[in-house]
């Protein structure tokens, strides 16, 4: 398994992700987007950052680069794809997942630890957890408010494609525990196949030296 960590101009969590994978013993390499997806890619991580300076909308430009055609094709073939933060915005902008991540209700950039409730444990990204388990992982974003039309939201819920919701330390999904005004506290969603996107940063909660390790189980979805 080689995970390709796609680097765009302005990505800045690519090396954090590489360090996290190294710690977990998962083979991974950083790939410059213009070089295309390597043939031995068995997983794709779209890392956080500010690709293309967040011009137009966060993730809008990166989502329309040629390598994303390769990523879509790989995803259709069952390759696991995880988008984190800016990678989540890219995932939604590219149609890999539904909905959109837009300006936080606070209109501010927010960098803070949050609690997440596992909504669906039957995925590679959450197999290490139990449904309803509460995890602590940091967020760092200005455009993380999940928006989706009512019809699509109903589908997302009925098809059990909400991966995580923001919650309090006891696992209650409340307005107070919603850091950015996301619709129904959605913090991460599943696409088709083995595709998922999430605004919180598992790679920042993997190395024991820098705090919590709840992100490990998510990245182990690539193992």
């Amino acid at each position: 398994m080689t995970v390709s960590i796609i680097r765009f101009g302005g990505s800045n969590c690519d090396r954090d992700a590489a360090r996290a994978f190294e710690h977990l013993g998962i083979d991974a390499e950083i790939v410059w987007h213009e070089d295309g997806l390597p043939a031995d890619t068995n997983g794709v991580l779209l890392p956080g950052g500010f690709s293309y300076g967040d011009y137009l909308r966060a993730g809008a430009m990166a989502a329309r680069t040629p390598i994303m055609n390769d990523v879509r094709e790989a995803a259709e073939g069952g390759t696991p794809v995880l988008g984190v933060c800016n990678g989540a915005q890219i995932g939604c902008e590219s149609g890999l997942t539904e909905g959109a991540f837009t300006t936080n209700a606070s209109a501010r950039f927010q960098c803070e630890p949050v609690h997440l409730r596992v909504e669906n444990a039957d995925t590679p990204w959450t197999a290490a957890f139990e449904e309803g388990e509460v995890l602590e992982v940091p967020i760092a974003h200005g455009e993380g408010r999940f928006e989706i039309g009512a019809e699509r939201l109903a589908e997302l819920n009925s098809e059990d494609r909400v991966l995580f919701r923001y919650c309090d330390a006891e696992g209650n999904v409340t307005d107070d525990a919603n850091p950015n005004g996301s619709t129904e506290n959605v913090a991460g969603v599943l696409g088709k196949g083995n595709v998922a996107v999430m605004m919180p940063h598992p790679e920042r909660a993997t190395l024991p030296d820098i705090g919590g390790t709840d992100g490990q189980g998510m990245l182990e979805g690539f193992a």
Partner: protein, 84 residues
């Protein structure tokens, strides 16, 4: 071929929260202005050559569909006029 300018206006769908507009509104109120609401929109002016006004509008429409707007949160409109 004729030179046209297509103006694409992209705005949030009604009902989608616009925190930047809310912040701007509060700032105007702090300056002493009275207002009921404020909405923001992005406006793109695209110069292009096309066989007809309809052809120019069609191309600008596709630009909005494929990049300038995000259909999940945005509505958009296209206006075309002959370039001066």
């Amino acid at each position: 071929m004729t030179a046209y300018t297509a103006t694409v206006t992209v705005r949030l769908k009604r009902g989608v929260l616009d925190p930047e507009a809310e912040t701007t509104k509060r700032s105007l109120e702090r300056l002493g202005f009275e207002l009921d609401a404020l909405r923001s929109a992005d406006r793109f002016e695209v110069d292009l050559d096309a066989d007809s006004e309809d052809a120019a509008a069609e191309r600008a429409d596709e630009m909005a569909e494929r990049l300038l707007a995000n259909p999940t949160i945005h509505d958009y409109e296209v206006e075309v006029e002959q370039a001066e």
